[in-house]
Symmetry: C2
Subunit: 221 residues, 2 copies
Amino acid sequence: MSKNISKNNLKFAVLAVDTVLLSIIDGILHVLLIDVSVPQFKGKKGLPGGMITPTETAEEAVARHLSNKAGVSKTFLEQLYTFSSIKRDPRGRVVSVAYMGLVPESKTGAVEGAVWVPVNKIGKLAYDHNEIVLTALGRLRSKVIYTDIVKNLLPKEFTLSQLQEMYEIILGSELDKRNFRKKILKLGLVKATGNEQRGEANRPASLYKWVATKRQFSDLI
Amino acid sequence: MSKNISKNNLKFAVLAVDTVLLSIIDGILHVLLIDVSVPQFKGKKGLPGGMITPTETAEEAVARHLSNKAGVSKTFLEQLYTFSSIKRDPRGRVVSVAYMGLVPESKTGAVEGAVWVPVNKIGKLAYDHNEIVLTALGRLRSKVIYTDIVKNLLPKEFTLSQLQEMYEIILGSELDKRNFRKKILKLGLVKATGNEQRGEANRPASLYKWVATKRQFSDLI
DNA sequence: GCAAAAGTGTTCTTTATACACCCATGT
DNA sequence: ACATGGGTGTATAAAGAACACTTTTGC
């Protein structure tokens, strides 16, 4: 959804992708936004995305546009929903396949023209992108309770407190430390690496990593 | 995905919809299939679907094609996934937005060119339609345990045994009658209508209906 | 030695599971 | 009268929720 299409060369069906890239930065859930250049949305921000070409899949288009516009690659991506309202793009008919992506804080470096914005401060976005963001947030919140999707927001090794913080931020509620640890450890999804996080002005925390697994879960938290 | 497009007039991007219509008929989960007319899939069956026109949304296209090809209208529909493999249609590039639909047994009347087939007997379908059916079955099985989606497969009034049978068929496992009733009634999702199902060679069963509600559930069963 | 986060158990409540018999009807 | 599915309760096990103090470090 960007400079590659203009009023003149739009023809049905134009197929695009848009991606809601999420990350937890400084303890706050952020979404990556870019400046939108089309005149109808002058000054507004929107989601990174763009056309699907005839020779690529939607997934390939997402990877390409994220790499170009957001400087992000090899990140977790999941198809969200396809938005097909007739007037969602003022320039013509554009159907968009939306994706949600999760990136760990360590990969959220500055990129020209892209900015990480706290999800409660995104204001009015271009197109129907507010709706797409809400869809992504809903998906993240529901999947966090029955899958291990949070692992995509964490570094390779992490403390149980960091893990707990992820759940608290996404769910918007506090969890009991002892009960949380009991449950997470009993599930066997993570295991201690033997390493410790040192350098903080407190007792060092054990570092954990995810155990490889394919199965789906239910009621993690 | 059908007669409206031919090798000559395909141009990128062709956008289609396909629908996995499911119903439980005689205690067995069925999917509605239609005969596919394109030569490459001669003799094969496939899902009902077709083009999205420039002036309709995907949802409108689904409703239109289901009405035309399956004689089904006003039924539960939910977007499943968008399939964008480059070679999924041998005639050219076609991206398909797939939907899952649920219909009660009472609305599964015979329609010319369409047939209800048990899901474990569908064989090899045209296009990537086996994959789409598997996606729908997975979605149904996962949603049945945390939403009231089964209500779309039942008549307006139903017995608790009928309700339990729906869960057992979809989940593929048996449930304890007493525990099932305790749980369903405690959830308050259904209430007795005061009517009874008579005419069977056994004690009449109380009939229930769904209580109107908007909220999401978790762990219904 | 003080501040800061790590780590750890027990009690109580709620929910899940296992299980067997009598009831009302149609034939 | 008998076959059929409808309807009901209790005891045990498992899971969830509530709750406070000691430990180890950096400064």
